[in-house]
């Protein structure tokens, strides 16, 4: 009886979290467009609602009512499955994020690994969508997505192993708890933090590492043929991935919910917003590197640096314990 009640509670909480995440992703699209506009000395969307705040509602309504037109010769089941795969793993990844002490849907012991796995799963959506579209540009985008995944995943996981070593846990809540009193891990792991954020930009498929989308040379890459709600799901996945990477960065490196005066969830939200702002800022500034440049950087520079970081951290942690 109590077990089923607890299950029901988790279900309700999950539904609330899902709804909140959808709204947050929508608001984030509006915020991004406004910030990009301001950085380009224009105003951005300011027509719908106060300050254009309801622009994302209008966009959503537009996308839902649009026709969904799979191209002739497309692999329909795969074509329809791909956008779902883009959004679902990211939403699942939020299940282990600790928003405040005890504010976790699923308090997994291997939370970090779970989120890493969910982030990596999105590449299936890109490759599947690219393949199912039966479009040359889409296929090129899918190929790039696969190669880029191998490149950034190589150091994404390694860059945050230093944090796991110091905290002694894969549980996101325990990692945050280990940073109490302003001992943020970014102070002891600056290199790991920088590498993680670089890999995070690539993992969220954002400029400057959105080579699989790359509209200047690939039309829209893997989602060239997508329209309507399927297109919106890909976008939802991308924006949620930014928020997930930001949440992970806050949890691992910037002290999670810890902060003076304000309650924990507020601090968490503020920090995530700050990191998301940096993502937008980077998008507004940096040009997209060439394809081989990103792969070369990942394998030849970032991976050795992550390994050295892990080695030195492990040496200090084990040496300190001995």
């Amino acid at each position: 009886m109590t077990a089923s009640l607890a299950a029901l509670l988790v279900l309700i909480l999950s539904a609330v979290l899902l709804a909140a995440l959808m709204v947050t992703a929508g608001v984030f699209t509006w915020a991004e467009r406004r910030i990009l506009g301001f950085m380009q000395e224009r105003l951005g969307p300011n027509r719908v609602g106060p300050f254009g705040f309801l622009q994302w509602v209008a966009d959503t309504v537009k996308l839902i009512t649009k026709e969904d037109a799979p191209p002739a010769g497309a692999d329909r089941p795969a074509y329809l499955l791909a956008p779902v795969l883009a959004a679902l793993p990211i939403l699942a990844g939020f299940g282990v994020v600790a928003f405040a002490p005890g504010w976790t849907i699923a308090d997994l012991d291997m939370g970090v690994m779970f989120v890493m796995g969910m982030l990596a799963l999105t590449v299936y959506a890109l490759v599947l969508g690219a393949w199912a579209s039966r479009n040359r540009y889409a296929t090129l985008g899918g190929l790039r997505a696969a190669a880029q995944l191998l490149a950034y995943e190589s150091f994404l996981g390694l860059s945050l192993m230093g944090v796991v070593l110091i905290a002694g846990s894969f549980n996101l809540g325990e990692i945050v708890a280990a940073q109490e009193g302003g001992r943020w891990f970014v102070l002891v792991q600056p290199l790991g933090c920088a590498l993680f954020l670089i890999a995070g930009v690539a993992a969220a498929h954002r400029l400057p590492f959105d080579l699989q989308e790359s509209e200047q040379d690939l039309v829209a890459g893997f989602m060239t043929e997508y329209s309507g709600m399927n297109f919106a799901l890909f976008f939802l996945g991308e924006y949620l991935a930014v928020l997930l990477v930001a949440s992970l960065a806050v949890t691992l490196f910037f002290g999670g919910w810890h902060g003076p005066l304000l309650p924990g969830p507020v601090w968490f939200g503020l920090k995530v917003a700050a990191i998301a702002f940096v993502f937008v800022w980077i998008r507004a500034t940096l040009p997209r590197p060439r394809y081989d440049q990103l792969i070369g950087f990942a394998w030849k520079v970032a991976l050795p640096l992550a390994l050295v970081n892990l080695l030195v951290t492990g040496w200090i942690v084990v040496g300190g314990a001995a």
């Binding site: 910030i35 506009g37 301001f38 950085m39 380009q40 000395e41 224009r42 105003l43 800022w281 980077i282 507004a284 500034t285 940096l286």
Partner: protein
């Protein structure tokens, strides 16, 4: 690396710089008086129509958007019975204004002509006529024209010489 940080700073500092976006529906643009937009028919200082239905504007129009039907008063003055401009066709080139011998047809800086239906863009004479004289003040065609009308004989116009009697040889 230094270049990346400098770019980030330069782009980020644009956040608080003034924006170039014109807040159009709320903030109206400041257009010069010779801006070419909505076409009007002006009146002379007495309030009479300036247009003499000469059709020169319709001939000059490169897109054939002007349609004039001539009528005549009892004392011999021409006037347009109907004067129609199709603004769906008009390209606002201003040739009609240049062709007009009586300064009747003029272009104004009012550019807000949008409509939901095409028929709404066809303006009739009563839509085009305005109360004032437009850009040319104090001009009245019949004061300077050589044509005789009621109350003004040949040679009575401003700066017009008296008519020459061709049958008479004396200078």
């Amino acid at each position: 690396m230094k270049g990346l940080l400098k770019s980030l700073w330069e782009v980020g500092s644009k956040l608080w710089e003034p924006k170039y976006t014109a807040g159009y529906p709320e903030v109206k643009p400041d257009l010069p008086p010779r801006y070419r937009a909505r076409i009007v028919l002006t009146r002379d200082p007495d309030g009479g129509e300036r247009c003499v239905a000469c059709n020169l504007c319709a001939v000059a129009c490169p897109v054939d958007c002007i349609d004039v039907v001539k009528a005549e008063t009892e004392d011999g003055r021409w006037y347009p019975e109907t004067f129609r401009i199709n603004f769906a066709r008009c390209i606002f080139c201003g040739y009609c204004e240049e062709a007009c011998p009586t300064a009747a047809i003029q272009l104004t800086p009012d550019f807000e002509l949008a409509d939901y239906a095409r028929p709404g863009l066809v303006y009739e004479k009563e839509d085009l006529l305005i109360a004032g004289e437009g850009k040319v003040a104090g001009y009245r065609y019949w004061d300077v024209a050589g044509k005789a009308i009621a109350g003004k004989d040949k040679g009575a116009a401003r700066a017009e010489a008296a008519p020459v009697d061709l049958k008479d040889l004396t200078p």
